[in-house]
């Protein structure tokens, strides 16, 4: 559950528009700082790593609604700036294939960019602290920590969406009050979905019995239940992701260490003679 699989039209407008604005700001900054190595080198690298992440993400473990992400691997290779650009591309292409909403592309970009940056920092820090020989274990632990942090961010986003009057609102601005109104504030049946006005009134009466109007107008997304589900299913995914990340980074560190320890954009980007033998 590393990125948001929340459908379009569920989160309030201010949240996803804000996400888009922040994401566009982030990638503009990232293009400025990450592009210092030159577009010639950055463009193919971002393209190849983004494609790799997309290929990995297209493998779905259906029963637990999880797929391998390789975001920490991508973060280690690209670093935080190019990683942010790659995050935007991956999320956008996935959204265009129907995987993840278009409106949440901004928020997802922020989530995955954070995942890549945190993963990159933890792996770099861990290797510096424990040495290159433990890079596999470091990567595994870094992945679990990273995913735990970003899953908490995800719950935070849902809590942001669900704590105010925008609860379950479909993102629209009420033209009468210029407020984000909860269309279900009087209950779903108030819309006359399954009946006419009489049913609406009856339903509303039942709903309102013994409660104040304000209490019933804020039923909202169940953040507690959502957190319980993602923190129950999440660790299974974190463990899988950690094992895969540890194995891949361990393998790459053995066969081409410069990629892991210096990053793919290291000054000498060609594999040095004898590099294949391992540097540790």
């Amino acid at each position: 559950m590393s990125h948001i699989h929340i459908p379009d039209g569920v989160l309030p407008v201010w949240l996803w528009v804000g996400g888009w604005a922040l994401a566009l700001g982030l990638i503009t900054l990232a293009a400025r700082f990450g592009g210092r190595a030159g577009a010639r080198r950055a463009v193919p690298l971002i393209g190849a790593v983004s494609a790799l992440v997309l290929v990995a993400m297209s493998s779905e473990i259906v029963p637990i609604a999880y797929h391998i992400n390789l975001t920490v691997v991508a973060g280690v290779l690209l670093g935080p700036w190019l990683g942010a650009i790659s995050a935007f591309i991956v999320v956008l292409v996935l959204a265009l294939l129907g995987h993840g909403g278009i409106t949440v592309v901004g928020l997802n970009t922020l989530m995955i960019a954070a995942e890549m940056a945190i993963g990159w920092a933890l792996v770099r820090g861990g290797v510096r602290l424990l040495g290159r020989t433990r890079v596999g274990a470091v990567s595994g632990v870094a992945t679990v920590l990273t995913l735990a942090i970003t899953t908490s961010l995800l719950v935070g986003i849902v809590a942001l969406a669900g704590t105010g009057g925008a609860v379950r609102e479909t993102g629209a601005l009420d033209p009468e009050t210029l407020e984000f109104r909860d269309p279900f504030s009087d209950g779903v049946f108030s819309l006359g979905l399954l009946g006419g006005e009489h049913e609406h009134e009856a339903e509303a009466d039942v709903d309102h019995e013994g409660e104040t109007a304000e209490e019933t107008s804020e039923p909202g997304l169940n953040v507690g239940r959502f957190a319980a589900v993602v923190f129950t299913l999440g660790p299974i995914g974190w463990a899988l992701e950690a094992l895969v990340t540890a194995a891949i980074i361990g393998y790459v560190a053995r066969v081409r260490p410069s990629l892991v320890f210096e990053g793919a954009l290291a000054a000498d980007h060609r594999p040095r003679y004898g590099d294949e033998q391992g540097g540790h």
Partner: protein, 265 residues
């Protein structure tokens, strides 16, 4: 998620929607997305979804490949609805919104080549991002094919079976490691090519011109109608009890669309 099937349909398709201008289709998809965002009634959003399937069926788009992609987000939406929705009707609304939004983008992607979709984005994003989008598109097909070959080879050579999950997982992750090295080598080859061609940033995509003006108009009308429908049902409470009429009409349109599609074979 078969990206090659999407690309094949987008590039080789000959339906009127394929010949419409990419910009028009993007606007139409945007209008449908706005309808999804504004919808508060499951029956109304179901009507929009059915109408989209009707369009795809009448134009003989590859529904067998499109529907699994459009239904894929339903898996996650069901999990989200179960976890967060306060009731079954809201849950249904969440799932229907996910499927309808996915249908809109899937119809767009099955009728429009990726570079044409990315072209407008290139105007609003930094050069590095726009170029990397196009390079990802190129690399994706190469890596998807390589990945399939690698996994096939791993299955054959390592004898992966359900009885030996650890051995299988090890072999698979090694294959993924190999794919990572391959992707890095691929990026170096692409770097060499870009250097040889004197690339300094700014890959250009020439926007496709419409050869079916009627399809342009129809696409915009469809998107506007979807949005108008959701707005009417959202802001006119007296009409809300009659959303079933919209859903029934969309169902009739779907049947008509299927019949039209069969007839045009």
């Amino acid at each position: 998620m078969d990206v090659t099937a999407v690309d094949r349909s987008a590039v080789t398709g000959v339906s009127p929607l394929h010949r419409a201008a990419p910009g028009t289709k993007l606007v139409a998809a945007g209008l449908v997305m706005a309808a999804v965002v504004m919808a508060t009634d499951p029956l109304v959003i179901a009507a929009v979804a059915l109408a989209l399937v009707a369009v795809a069926a009448s134009l003989r788009l590859p529904l067998k490949e499109m529907l699994p992609l459009a239904l894929y987000p339903a898996v996650f939406a069901v999990v989200f609805a179960f976890a967060a929705a306060p009731g079954p009707v809201t849950g249904a609304l969440i799932v229907l919104k996910a499927v309808t939004a996915a249908l809109a983008v899937v119809v767009l992607m099955f009728t429009t080549p990726y570079p044409q979709v990315f072209a407008p984005l290139q105007r609003i994003t930094p050069t590095l991002v726009g170029d990397a989008l196009l390079m990802t598109y190129r690399s994706l097909f190469i890596l998807a094919e390589k990945s399939a070959d690698l996994l096939r080879a791993v299955r054959l050579r390592a004898g992966i079976s359900a009885r030996q999950p650890i051995r299988g997982a090890r072999a698979t992750t090694r294959a993924l490691g190999g794919l990572l090295l391959y992707s890095f080598d691929l990026s170096q080859r692409e770097y060499d090519i870009l250097r040889l061609r004197g690339y300094e940033g700014g890959l250009k995509v020439t926007p496709k011109v419409s050869t079916a003006p009627a399809a342009d108009v129809a696409a915009i009308v469809f998107g506007a109608a979807a949005l108008a429908l959701t707005l009417v049902f959202r802001f006119s409470p007296p009409l809300a009890g009659y959303a079933w009429i919209a859903a029934t009409a969309a169902l009739a349109a779907l049947i008509l669309g299927v019949l039209l599609g069969r007839r045009s074979r």
